[in-house]
């Protein structure tokens, strides 16, 4: 459907931002970082459910790994305390390492899956870990027709 973008650069230059969808946090398991896997209706026409769910689930797994409380994190905590936290000047925490992995994953997902569909995921860390922001782009060339059709479908659905 809609527009074909071949890479992120093209997306940025030739498309205009139409809308943003926000995937909120899921607090059912406490304060650990987890995002809701519910599929937002605005994306129904843009991307398959399975791809979306896989992205969110993978992100959730990454965050769970970062916040996991186990042997390694205890070791890191005790070592840090013993060195009066000076050790963090030399090495980065496990959380930061996982955040880098997440950034890389999101970049990869954007390039391979989301940009070709006119979507862009913003890393949650840039939104204070509150939401996963997915920007929906419309191609300027066909903005009239495509957005027109989406509004029609939107209103009929209601």
């Amino acid at each position: 459907m809609a527009t074909e973008f071949h890479n992120l650069q093209e997306l940025r230059h030739s498309a205009s931002l139409a809308n943003k969808v926000f995937i909120q946090r899921d607090y059912s398991e406490g304060t650990t970082c987890k995002f809701q896997t519910k599929f937002p209706s605005e994306l129904e026409s843009r991307i398959e459910l399975t791809l979306f769910e896989e992205t969110v689930k993978t992100l959730n797994n990454f965050y769970a790994e970062a916040e996991k409380i186990g042997g390694q994190s205890y070791l890191e905590g005790c070592l840090a305390c013993a060195t009066a936290y000076l050790i963090f000047l030399c090495m980065e925490t496990r959380y930061e390492k996982v955040l880098k992995k997440i950034a890389k994953y999101i970049q990869e997902q954007n390039e391979k899956i989301y940009a070709p569909r006119g979507l862009l995921i913003t890393d949650p860390i840039e939104r204070g870990m509150r939401v996963i922001e997915i920007s929906i782009y419309e191609d300027r060339g066909s903005s009239g027709s495509s957005s027109g059709s989406s509004s029609v479908s939107g209103s009929t659905a209601r």
Binding site: S16, N19, E42, G77, C81, R94, Y95, L99, I125, S151
Partner: protein, 492 residues
């Protein structure tokens, strides 16, 4: 007359050379890139180019520092030589290590980010408002929009409150610190003695600080007394006191500190072992007095596990990126990256908006997140006490987004909105004044229902506080895109 004219001419030419549309590159080159801490909306102070973050009032922190430094200084100068000779040199070494640890943890607690949650970007805030509207629209007649969400965490129902200042639903255990004007994750309390809030990211340092300070205080107290006693065997009590008057001062300071600091350490040890925050304990959130089934959903049940989690768990990174640069494209605290709506707002020409709104509405209600005309008067009463007033109320009709993140919403009394709004009105950030070009439709255009007298304040609130941090320098690359986008739409 001529002079005046020529002066006016000069002035005019000065102004014309200075003024530049944001799209001109010289303007961009002239302004250096600013860091995010410079436009931070909370009431914090930053030092060392954003590396150090403290609360606004730091007087008591300096008092703490002076007390510790002076007492320890006196101890090392006057008591340690005697003790090292008479007893063992390990005493000053141990004392020195304790002192350094206390100082280190104090500085770490005071200077680090306690876990501040960045405020919602305007898009997020708009999205939340829409979702709240959607639920409110379903109810008949006037009903104040719900401002709480309920979540079930480990079998316990927890209410998440909406923060009017930060425009987010606070995560569980987060709280808004009125002194620092920030929402802080796992908010414990605001400690004036350390000059900062104590939250998720610095709680362990705070605990280490008070624990080590208790040991240090007891250590100094004990050894100063030992010193006096040993000297008085040799020289007599009064002579001993006269020879080291500093010891008297130390004893007095330590005596009074011991009670409070040791007490505080004990209290926080209890809190850590039961995985509660000071905030929760004071409110009695998980007390069994509230109900038979009331229990703490965050506690693992095991004291040891709770302690390990609090003290040795992973340290989350700071969410506010103080030292990052404010960039035009990157999504951050400055205005968002939408092309169409932002441009419509920066122009701030209502005629312009009027021209585009019918066109925008044709296409999709989504882009019109903010700028649609308030055609739907019926939903307004329900939205009267919201900051946005009318405009967004028309949107849910075009875009039936079920509130994906709101499993159940409960109603709030309209009356509690008022004091909050009044409170929020006072927190206008200087940069927000520049956002006269905010991208919500001006309240005057919104036909507010006659009975809603308190509409004035929330709508006024949206004017001043709302749009955040208009940074002209960041608009440049946005502008081109947005101009193209808007031109395209208007030509259709």
């Amino acid at each position: 007359m001529h002079l005046g004219e020529s002066m006016r001419e000069c002035e005019y030419s000065q102004i014309s050379t200075r003024s530049s549309t944001p799209m001109e590159t010289p303007y961009k080159k002239r302004t250096p890139k600013r860091k995010k801490w410079e436009t931070f909306p909370g009431r914090n102070k930053f030092y060392c180019d954003g590396r150090i973050m403290m609360a606004k009032q730091t007087g008591v922190f300096y008092l703490t520092l002076v007390l510790i430094l002076v007492t320890c200084g006196l101890f090392f100068t006057f008591d340690c030589p005697f003790l090292a000779q008479q007893l063992t040199p390990i005493i000053p070494v141990l004392g020195g290590a304790l002192f350094l640890f206390v100082l280190g943890t104090l500085l770490r607690t005071s200077f680090s980010d306690p876990g501040v949650l960045p405020r919602a970007t305007p898009d997020e805030a708009a999205d939340l408002e829409r979702q709240i509207d959607y639920v409110a629209n379903g109810t008949k007649g006037y009903r104040p929009p719900p401002r709480t969400k309920e979540v079930v965490i480990n079998g316990q129902t927890v209410k998440l409150k909406y923060c009017f200042t930060c425009k987010i639903f606070r995560p569980p255990r987060a709280s808004h610190c009125s002194l620092c004007d920030n929402c802080v994750e796992r908010f414990d309390h605001h400690c004036p003695w350390v000059g900062n809030c104590v939250g998720r990211r610095n709680y362990r340092f705070f605990y280490m600080f008070i624990l080590s300070l208790s040991f240090l205080t007891i250590f100094i107290f004990a050894f100063v007394i030992t010193h006096i006693i040993l000297s008085s065997y040799q020289k007599g009590f009064l002579t001993a006191l006269k020879e080291s008057p500093a010891s008297v001062l130390e004893v007095v300071v330590c005596f009074f500190s011991v009670w409070s600091i040791v007490g505080l350490s004990g209290f926080h040890t209890y809190l850590i072992s039961s995985n509660q925050t000071t905030n929760e304990d004071i409110k009695g959130s998980w007390s069994s007095k509230r109900g038979k089934d009331n229990y703490n959903p965050y506690s693992s049940g095991n004291i040891f596990t709770n302690c390990c989690v609090a003290l040795c768990g992973p340290l989350p990174p700071s969410l506010i990126d103080r030292r990052g640069f404010i960039e035009a494209d990157a999504p951050q605290m400055a205005p968002p990256t939408n092309g169409i709506t932002m441009y419509g707002a920066t122009q701030s020409q209502q005629s312009h908006m009027a021209a585009t709104t019918p066109l925008l509405q044709q296409h999709s209600s989504e882009p019109v997140i903010i700028t649609s005309s308030p055609e739907n008067g019926t939903s307004l009463p329900a939205r009267a006490s919201l900051t946005l007033g009318g405009p967004c109320s028309s949107l849910p009709l075009g875009q039936p987004t079920p509130p994906t993140s709101t499993p159940s919403l409960s109603c709030h009394e309209a009356t509690d909105m008022l004091p909050i709004h009044g409170h929020a009105l006072n927190h206008t950030h200087p940069l927000q004044e520049q956002a006269a070009l905010h991208h919500y439709l001006t309240p005057e255009e919104v036909p507010s229902p006659p009975g809603m007298l308190h509409c004035g304040s929330p709508l006024g609130h949206s004017h001043t506080v709302q749009t955040s941090f208009y940074n002209p320098a960041s608009q440049d690359s946005l502008h081109e895109d947005s101009v193209r986008g808007l031109v395209k739409l208007s030509s259709v």
